[in-house]
């Protein structure tokens, strides 16, 4: 498909919107735009972080998903209780692939589903007593846990439970951190508020726990924020930071621990990967502890090198030299990867629809491989995300917010991308349509994709999917013949 002009792209959006009833059409129109690089502020042309339209197929999740699923779930030595009915804990178990190193059920608890499995009587009489008892049972069975978080499901906020009081009481009794999190699924309009609520809970119950305690710091202490170690991403990032001479005191929250989080206020610089889900705590630490924070991008060698230099610029020459040394070390390997895969991927068009940071952060990695992102959108972004995205995207590309299943399919039919990067709910419809697809939430069970080591896997994976022979077999040969004879006749 040749590139669209601005007018063609706008016409496409209008055509797609045609099917909606008037009210929904008006609403959806605000969430779809053609990129215009002359505009600085996205709010002039796209609306985001608003309620999804009822009855359309939104791909969004809820606050619980943002808190338990994203922020809290990966912390390995804290037990997260899915507090409420039985489903949420099961649905959010294991799908995000937050890797951790530890002994499950003994000192690590990420892959276990703990729930209060609410029954009717808990709804009628309240769940506080059950919660208190449950915490005792956890303490008996898992003595080496470092803390507990209570992840509220929808009913908790509706039946007037006081989980904060239970948490305070039990914390005093068992002497461990217990964090009540008000992330009921009906709060907010997407996962996003869940991230915010989760950050606020960390702020209120964890971050200042060691303010008075001594910490042996070095001038090179940093923390990684907003890396959930999906397929080992945070490890592939940490290795570069360590190699350039930094000391990574904490990982938030992939493979993270309570101790790391509590020690984070002692670092010199917070490195923020997923801005959307952790800018809140970074801003808080900046104000309270005067720790500056920096957004970085570890997808693809170009952005990684830029980011390493950017990070190093906050430190002395030793670290600056370290950054150059790291870049020089990996450059030959990266060049070899690009030499192999770029000829196979050059000019291929990509459409993205993900969450967090990926619709903008992966653009550079695709460009390193000669690929071009022609459409990008977020499930739960805010306008500050779109401000950042518009700069990365080419002119006249499509940008879509909270895109519905129907809109996304139509855009794909018209634009015919060579690859889609999105989630599992979208994946299989595009498989039927014969469009190569990679999950960009879970890395499609592969990864890591962060860091130089991750880029090698990223390049391999994009190539295997774009160029796999299976996509050529969708049409039966006898149907192909019919089609071509049809064309001949027409000619």
């Amino acid at each position: 498909m040749s590139e669209l002009t601005r007018e063609q792209a706008q016409a496409l959006i209008e055509e797609v919107l045609e099917v909606y009833p008037e009210k929904a059409k008006k609403d959806r129109a605000k969430h779809l735009m053609v990129n215009d690089k002359t505009i600085e502020q996205s709010k002039k042309c796209i609306t985001s972080n608003r309620k999804s339209v009822p009855g359309v197929m939104t791909q969004r999740g809820c606050a619980y998903a943002g808190s338990k699923g994203v922020v809290w779930g990966p912390i390995k030595d804290i037990i997260d209780i899915s507090h409420g009915p039985v489903g949420c804990g099961a649905y959010s178990r294991g799908g995000r692939r937050n890797y951790y190193a530890g002994t499950s059920g003994v000192d690590s608890f990420c892959d276990i589903n703990f729930t209060s499995d609410f029954q009717e009587k808990d709804i009628v009489f309240g769940g506080d007593k059950k919660l208190a008892k449950l915490i005792d049972e956890l303490e008996g069975l898992f003595p080496l846990s470092k803390g507990i978080s209570v992840q509220s499901e929808c009913p908790v906020g509706l039946i007037g439970d006081d989980i904060e009081a239970v948490a305070k009481k039990k914390q005093a009794e068992i002497g461990k951190v217990i964090v009540p999190v008000r992330c009921e699924g009906f709060r907010g309009v997407s996962q996003s508020l869940g991230h915010h609520i989760a950050n606020d809970a960390v702020r209120d119950w964890i971050i200042s726990n060691r303010d008075d305690k001594a910490f042996e710091s070095t001038p090179y202490d940093v923390a990684i924020l907003g890396d959930y170690n999906i397929g080992g991403d945070a490890w592939a990032s940490r290795i570069l930071l360590e190699e350039m001479g930094l000391r990574v005191v904490a990982q938030w929250s992939g493979d993270g621990t309570l101790a790391e989080m509590e020690n984070t206020p002692k670092v010199k610089l917070n490195l923020l990967h997923c801005y959307r889900s952790m800018n809140y705590i970074a801003r808080h630490m900046e104000e309270k502890y005067a720790i500056p924070w920096l957004e970085y991008n570890f997808f693809g060698p170009t952005k990684i090198a830029e980011s390493l230099r950017d990070i190093a610029s906050h430190f002395d020459d030793k670290i600056k030299e370290g950054a150059e040394r790291v870049i020089a070390k990996y450059t030959p390997a990266m060049n070899a990867i690009i030499a192999k895969y770029k000829p196979r991927l050059q000019g291929k068009k990509v459409m993205l629809y993900v969450g967090g940071l990926r619709p903008r952060h992966t653009i550079g990695a695709y460009e390193d491989l000669g690929m071009e992102v022609i459409g990008a959108g977020y499930e739960f972004a805010h306008n500050d995300d779109y401000d950042r995205t518009m700069k990365e995207m080419k002119d006249a590309t499509l940008i879509y917010d909270d895109v519905t299943g129907y809109e996304f399919e139509e855009f794909v039919r018209q634009l015919k991308p060579d690859l889609i990067g999105s989630g599992i709910k979208e994946k299989y419809a595009f498989h039927k349509m014969g469009v190569p697809f990679r999950q960009l939430h879970s890395w499609d069970y592969s990864g890591p994709y962060h860091g130089f080591d991750g880029f090698a896997v990223f390049a391999r994976d994009m190539d295997m999917t774009v160029n796999n022979p299976c996509w050529g077999m969708l049409k039966a040969p006898w149907l192909k013949e019919e089609e071509s004879t049809g064309e001949l006749k027409a000619a």
């Binding site: 600085e40 502020q41 972080n49 915010h196 801003r283 900046e286 104000e287 005067a290 306008n383 500050d384």
Partner: protein
Amino acid sequence: MANIMVRKSADGGLSFYLPKRDIEDSITSIEFDTPEKWGGEIRLGNGGVYFIDPIPAPARLPISVRARRVDGVE
């Protein structure tokens, strides 16, 4: 009234952040900016106008303060 955060942006100017709504924008002007008196009416890049009760200039940024929306988009 809402809590807002004022911080120094990378380009040396000031930026405005409204956590409750995740609105981040540049501050184009601030009414008072002397050591004794800081705050007053602030204007944002998006045209929004907020008012901060003037205080002595904060020792360092960022700072969270209460602000009132006077005009413009939110």
